[in-house]
Each structure stands twice: as C-alpha cells, then as structure tokens.
C-alpha cells in the first residue's frame, strides 16, 4: 500500500510536468469566431450546419459582445487570434485603425437586420410609444422650461397622460453591448431634445429606473414574466420566440413585426455584421466557405432557416453585393 501510494504520487507528478511540457503544435484547422451576443444564435446555427454539410470541422464560437470581439479580432494575425468577429453594429473607425496598425484587414459581411424591441409581459398594459416618449423616459437629462434638468419622470403617465399609469422600469443591455449602442443611436440620438448637447444625447439615466440586465437576453425575458409593469429592451428574435408571454410595444405607430422590420418601417432596426480576417484566408481552412454558407439563399435568404431564428433577411440584391464582396475580399472602408 505504501509503495503503491508513492508510485502513484510520482506518476501523477511526472504526468503533470509532462502535460505542461507538451510541445504545443500551433496548427489549427477549425475556425475561431468571437463577438456579439445578438449574432451568436445565428452564427451558431450556421456553424453547426456548416460542420454537418461540408468537410470542414465545426467552427468554435464565443459570445463576447461586439466590442470585446472586435478587440480580440484586431489584436493581430496568427493562429491564436480569432478569424472572424461578429458585430451587431458597424465596425468603428477607431477599430479599423487598430486593426490596420496590427496588420489585420477586416472584410465586412452584412448578414441581415435585427429589430430592437421594447416588450413587456402579456399580463401588463400594452404600450404605444413614440421615440420622443422613450427619450423622455430614459434620458439622464431632459429639457424642462428651456433648461436641462435631471430626469424627473417616475410614471409613464407623467410623460403623457395617454400612457399607462405604471412606474417606468426598463431592463436593458449594458454599455458594452452592441444592442445598447444601436438603441442609443436609433432612439436617444434621433429623438434628442433641443437644448441638450449633442454628445449628451446618448446618456441614459442611472437613478435605478433603467437597469443593466447584462448580456443575457433570456434573463431579461424571465424577469419580465415575473414583473408585469417592467419593459425590456432586446433583440426581435427573443420576442419572436417568447410570443406566448410577451408583447412588443408599438413604436411610432409601427408594430414590432417581422414584415415591418424587413420593410424598414419599424424605426429601431439595425444591421448585423461579421468581419473576416483577410490575412487568415488560405491559412485557416474554410473561412470563405463559412461566409458563403452564412449568406446563402438557404440560410440568410428570404425563406432561410435563420429567418426562423429571428433574423430579418436582406433583399436579394443586397445579398448578392455582399456575396460579391466576400468573393473579392473587399476590405471595409472607413466612414
């Protein structure tokens, strides 16, 4: 017993040191994808089918948020950096500069639209909001009698008597999220009141009315089910999948429905993207094939399976332009 124990200890120790000393082969044959949590459900669907239907291994996808993903993506070239970054907003000029400085050339692929919805529990009141009303409810400072003051509103009915008499309580994404960036751009900046400085328009109040609910959209959905007066802000796909418990608020007289987002009449919709690292094409197998699978008729087309997951497809014409860009590996331009 005693000797066997000693042998065991020594064996484990040597195995341990062997493990650390393992020569780390640096070839990688599966794609590594990082980025937005909004694109994640779509990217994983495509990746799975890509692995099933082609000879390539299934890509590995991490949900890091758009900003975090692009940071990893732009960090450099080499097998220990990701090949593709998903983003729920366009790449920023500053990010393109970082990329180029590190020798990375991003190729932009637009995959479709996503509507950002404001939804609450079916047991709560139905909301019919304008973007101005949403701004009044969520901005840190609003204009009262010509002067900016800290947002005083606590009830929806204080903003407009036609709105329900319930407390303003909004659960939404944190500042690192692409959904938040898009929401701020499409609602807070669009509906910004005169008299508030341009760069202060996007400030969301921090007095407990707007609650950062983290990157987990499902958690928001569950919290909404428990609290009938709270409103959640998240991607359309989550409303689509949870239509049994939630209803979406009408914004500027347009219902948050598939057709309206696709037609461009629903005001809070943004494009979704992913970025390919041009330098990795030909080094890591399958990058272009993955991008083409993603933008194929069967996936991101009008009746593609991504539609069932809640992605609003591009028009066929736009999709063909995107496919041409993939084939030519056109680098993304600053704007």
């Amino acid at each position: 017993m005693k000797t066997s124990l000693t042998v065991l200890a020594i064996a484990l120790a040597s195995f341990g040191s062997l493990m650390t000393g393992v020569a780390l082969a640096q070839s990688r044959d599966q794609l590594q994808i990082v980025g937005s949590s909004t694109v994640f459900p779509f990217a994983t669907s495509v990746a799975e089918r890509f692995g099933q239907t082609t000879g390539f291994p299934t890509p590995i996808i991490e949900s890091t948020g758009s900003g975090g993903g692009l940071k990893l993506f732009c960090a450099g070239v080499g097998t220990n950096t990701p090949d593709i970054a998903n983003a729920s907003r366009r790449i920023k000029n500053s990010e393109i500069e970082t990329c180029i400085a590190n020798g990375v050339t991003p190729v932009q692929v637009r995959i479709g639209f996503d509507g950002i919805v404001l939804a609450n529990s079916k047991s709560g009141p139905e909301f019919n909001l304008s973007r101005e009303q949403i701004f009044s409810a969520l901005a840190r400072n609003i204009i009262v009698e010509g002067k900016p003051v800290a947002n005083p509103y606590r009830q929806w009915s204080e903003i407009d008597p036609s709105l329900p008499d319930v407390a303003i309580e909004v659960l939404g994404p944190p500042p690192t999220s692409g959904t938040r960036d898009a929401f701020v751009e499409l609602v807070m900046h669009e509906a910004c009141q005169d008299g508030i400085e341009e760069n202060k328009c996007g400030d969301i109040r921090e007095d407990g009315v707007y609650v950062d609910a983290g990157e987990n959209d499902n958690l928001i959905v569950q919290k909404l089910a428990a609290n009938s007066s709270a409103i959640g802000i998240f991607g359309f796909s989550f409303l689509d999948q949870n239509a049994d418990t939630l209803h979406g608020a009408i914004v500027d007289d347009v219902k948050p429905e598939f057709e309206n987002i696709a037609a461009g009449t629903y005001p809070i919709a943004r494009s979704l993207y992913f970025y390919i690292k041009k330098e990795h094409v030909g080094v890591i197998p399958g990058i272009v094939e993955y991008a083409l699978t993603f933008t194929s008729e069967g996936a991101a087309g009008e009746d593609g399976y991504l539609g069932e997951k809640g992605l609003i497809p591009l028009s066929d014409e736009d999709r063909q332009t995107v496919i041409a860009d993939i084939n030519n590996l056109t680098p993304v331009q600053k704007y």
Binding site: M1, K2, L5, T6, A9, L12, A13, F15, G16, M19, T20, V22, L24, A25, Q26, R28, Q30, Q32, S37, F40, P41, A43, T44, S45, A47, E48, G51, Q52, P57, T58, I60, I61, E62, S63, N80, K122, N216, D217, N218, L219, V221, S237, F238, D240, Q241, N242, A243, D244, T245, D303, Y305, E308, K309, G310
Partner: protein, 541 residues
C-alpha cells in the same frame, strides 16, 4: 425536584430557592430555544434544498425522453444511389433533406401551398436528415428497411406532446349536427353544437355562452381567442365564426362528407391558449395528433441528449461534449494540483524551518485561497495564452488555470491533515531508526491521506462548478464536436448550462435543468469516490 419543593426547610437554600428555580427554568428555556433554532436551521436548509431539487427535477425530467417519429422512408436506388448504384460514397452524398421532406409530405398528401408545406416539413427536426445520414453510414444494412428508423420530431411538437404548449378540453356531441361544404368552407349547424360550446367555462368564450345571443350576433374566433376544433368523420375542422344558428369552419384535416349532411358522432375541443400566444399552430397540432393516431410517434429515452455535443436545435443538443470536456479539464487539474499541493504541504509541515520566510509563504497561500476565480482566468490569459502561445478554448489551459485555483485549497487541507497525525507516530518511527523521508512516506502521509483526499475532492468540486476563469481563456464557447484530446477546443458542464439558459427556444429550459442534474450526478459520483478512498485509507490510533 418535586421532593425538594415539598420540603419547606430547604426552600431558602441557594440551589432550591424560588429565585434558583426561576433561574433554572430560564436556563432550560434558553436551552430549548437554542436547540429549536439549530433544529429549524437544518429544517430551513433542507426545505430550500428540497425546493431546489424538486424544481430542477420537475423541469428537467421531460428532457430525458423525446418523441420520435418512424416515417416510412424511401431509401432506394433513386434516392440514395448514383449512376453506379448504391455505394458508400453515394450514401455519404445523398440528399437526406429531400428524403425526410418527401416522407413527411407523403403522410399528408392533400397539403398544398408553400408555407403550409414548410410548416409540415418543420414538424420533423432539422437534425433528422443529419441523423439519418449518420445512421446509414454506420450501418448500411438499414437500407433494406427491415428496421424502422426513428427520427426526432421538432422541439415544439415534442413540447406539445409532453403537454407543455396548452391544456385542452373535449366535449362529445350529444345530438346530431349538420355539416355542409360551401365554397371551400364548412357550415356546421344544429343546437347541439351551441349547447356543447356552452359547456366550456373559458372566460374568453363568455359571449358565446350567454343564451343564444352569440349565435345570433356572431363572433369571430380570431387568433387571440382560444381555438375550437371540431372532430368528425376522420377529419378536423377549425371553427372560425359563430353566426346565427351555425358556425363556419375551415378544414385542418380533410373529412369525408356523405350525401346525408347529418353527423352523429362528433367531438369538439377547446385549446385554451390562443393561437397567437403559442409557437405551435392549430394546424401543426392536428398534424401531430394524426401522426400519433397512425402510431408513428414513439416516446423514447432521449439517447441524443447523452451522445451529442452542443447544438442550436434543442432536440439535437447533447451533454456529451461538455461531459468529456469537464473530464479532460479535471484530469489536468488533478494531475497538476494534487502532486504539487501535497508536496508543498509535506515540505511546509514536515521539513521547512519555522522562520519569517515560511510564515510569509503560509500567509500568501491563505490569501490565494480567497482570490476571486476570475483573477486566475486573467492570469491564464496573460501567461498561458499570450506569453506561452497555448491554444484558446483547450481543456489543457482550462485545467492549468483551475489547478492554480485549487492549489491553495489542497495545500491548506493537506497541511491540516498532516498536522493531525499524532507526533508519537513520527517519534516512534524515528526511534527505530527510520530516516525523515521514510517517516513521511511510510507513516505520516498514509495516515494523513483521508484528510488530504477530502481536501482534494473539495477543491475539485469547486473547480467543477467554475465558469469565470474559463471565460477569459475561451472555454465559454459554442463547441459542437466532441473533444478528443487535451488541446481540442472544449467547453465544460457549467458553461453548457449557462449557454443553454441563454438560448431563446423554450425547449432549452428543460435541457438546462437536465444538464444541472447531470452536473449534480457528476458531483455525487466524485464525492462517492472520495468516501470510498477515505474508507480505504482510514486508520485509527
């Protein structure tokens, strides 16, 4: 006690006086309160634990079975073979999507229209063609069709069959009604229908239940109303409007009409959740029911859950990838942290001189035990990935990071176990001429082993439940392929649970709870192993 109180002469002594008895009573009372509090503490913990387990069990249990459909599949030269007949190559490349699509459409040949056909094909899981291909590649014998192949239904069809979409109520007709076809629609007339409708106590149908007013005024049963289905002559009609003296309906499943419009044998069904509020339409419900009626649907043990890796389709999602990833990670963790931890503890306890340096090391080990685990993840990212260039998402790196995290726990527990070995054992061994190393290896370490193992298992259990440090090194990822080695991309059980909890499809909620049950089983197995090993090594002195 009663004896004393009956004796007046001792009533004034310090132990038996009135004050003394009051004191005694107070002491008993506080003791009773203390005991009750401790007892209720246990009670509350058990109640919470029971509540937790029941919730997880009730939610997760349905995930262990799944509804499969056995469709007659056309597997022949034309569908599977190419110009050279059936070969392994042609089995690889056949269009299985089309085979499955044709098979389900053959069940309902009357279905026309693009969206209706799509909905019908959607009844079978999108993973079914993949499974069919795998099954045929593995065993081409199945081509002869002797053994029917089971293919998974879609996640919503499965939820429906498990009764999780909506509750339904049935009423059987007591008297005949008339059915007439009129320009694609059907008219149902007869007072028996009204009296059957009145039978339902659904609040949304209150209007229909008030006397005859509903039939007279007419109400539209739109998507926001509970659905009413009418079963007769082997078909199903969906009631669309209730008019004066009749109801108009649309066929979901064709019914045979004879010359005589009178139907004696009929049934109506109320689906309580309105169609707008569920992801499974009346049409899909009727199709699924028809498949069940044709005895094509079977509820089986969900082997997919235990043999597949992650997937975006709930029915195709399995736990095996995460279980293998966890096992690989824990092997690395154990093989690094156990020898290092025990060796460090032995040196510090048995050999090291007591001085300022060892005191400093000791304080730092205790501090390390309290460092938040995410910090170890950052360390892993900076050192293992960036500096040493190790692969992202690999169990090797995950194991190394978790080993760093568990080391202090193991060292502290091992030192306590070594200290608990009586000095007499050491002195006796030294007394008969054993060397210091012999004392440690032959006597002290075996006696301390039960304690060391307990500490190790606690450390490993901690590592088993950790996600935060793995986030930084890329193990919080969607990995479909089951890892085959220490450097393959992998994920672990808690990460899988976290990701499933985040997916929007409702069927993933069941999978989440089922995965928690697997994680608990993993934990119980590890603890059981610890108990067995401890019994094996236990010595008394």
């Amino acid at each position: 006690m009663t004896d004393f109180s009956n004796q007046p002469e001792s009533a004034n002594t310090i132990h038996t006086g009135v004050a003394a008895r009051r004191r005694l009573k107070a002491r008993y009372r506080s003791e009773w309160i203390f005991k009750t509090l401790s007892f209720s503490a246990i009670g509350v913990s058990i109640a919470f634990l029971l509540f937790l387990f029941t919730t997880i069990f009730v939610q997760g249990w349905p995930a262990f079975t799944y509804n499969f459909v056995q469709l007659p599949l056309e597997l022949n030269e034309t569908t599977i073979g190419n110009q050279n007949g059936i070969s392994p190559e042609s089995i690889h490349n056949a269009d299985y999507d089309a085979i499955v699509r044709t098979a389900i459409r053959a069940q309902f040949p009357q279905v026309s229209g693009r969206s209706a056909k799509r909905a019908l094909s959607g009844l079978v899981s999108p993973g079914a063609p993949v499974l069919l291909r795998e099954a045929l590649i593995e065993d081409p014998e199945q081509l002869n069709g002797q053994k029917p192949l089971s293919l998974p239904l879609s996640d919503f069809a499965d939820l429906y069959l498990k009764g999780q979409i909506s509750h339904s109520e049935y009423r059987t007709g007591t008297a005949p009604v008339n059915i007439e076809a009129s320009s694609g629609n059907f008219q149902i007339s007869g007072t028996a229908l009204l009296s059957a409708l009145k039978n339902f106590t659904n609040p949304a149908l209150q209007g229909a239940q008030q006397e005859n007013s509903a039939f007279n005024a007419g109400i539209a049963l739109d998507r926001d109303m509970p659905s009413i289905l009418f079963y007769a002559n082997g078909g199903v009609l969906k009631l669309e409007t209730l008019g004066p003296g009749f109801a108009s309906a649309r066929a979901l499943l064709p019914l045979t009409l004879t010359k005589n419009p009178e139907v004696v044998d009929w049934q109506i069904r109320l689906i309580e959740v309105p169609e707008a509020n569920r992801n499974f339409s009346d049409q899909e419900i009727v199709w699924t029911d028809a498949l069940v009626e044709r005895q094509l649907v079977q509820s089986q043990f969900n082997t997919l859950f235990f043999t597949k890796g992650a997937s975006r389709e709930p029915e195709m999602a399995g736990i095996l990838g995460a279980v293998v990833g966890t096992a690989l990670t824990l092997i690395v963790t154990l093989s690094l942290s156990f020898p290092l931890g025990v060796a460090a503890a032995v040196y510090l306890e048995e050999f090291a001189p007591r001085n300022r340096w060892t005191a400093l090391v000791e304080v730092n080990i205790n501090n390390l035990a309290a460092v938040p685990s995410i910090v170890f993840g950052l360390l892993g990212l900076a050192v293992f990935l960036t500096f040493f260039g190790m692969p992202r998402s690999a169990p090797l790196v995950g194991g190394m990071v978790l080993a760093l995290m568990t080391l202090p726990t193991i060292i502290i527990a091992s030192r306590a176990a070594l200290r608990a070995v009586p000095p007499s054992i050491r002195e006796a061994a030294l007394g008969i001429g054993a060397s210091k190393m012999q004392v440690v290896l032959h006597h002290v370490l075996p006696l301390a082993m039960p304690g060391i193992l307990t500490g190790t298992i606690i450390g490993m259990a901690q590592a088993l439940g950790e996600t935060a440090p793995l986030l930084m090194i890329g193990m919080v990822a969607f990995v479909v392929d089951i890892p085959g080695g220490f450097t393959d991309p992998a994920t672990v059980l808690p990460v899988q649970i976290f990701m499933w909890a985040d997916f929007p499809e409702p069927a993933f909620q069941q999978r989440t709870s089922a995965a928690i049950m697997v994680l608990l089983a993993f934990l119980v197995a590890m603890n059981a192993l610890a108990v067995v090993l401890r019994k094996q090594f236990e010595r008394r002195w």
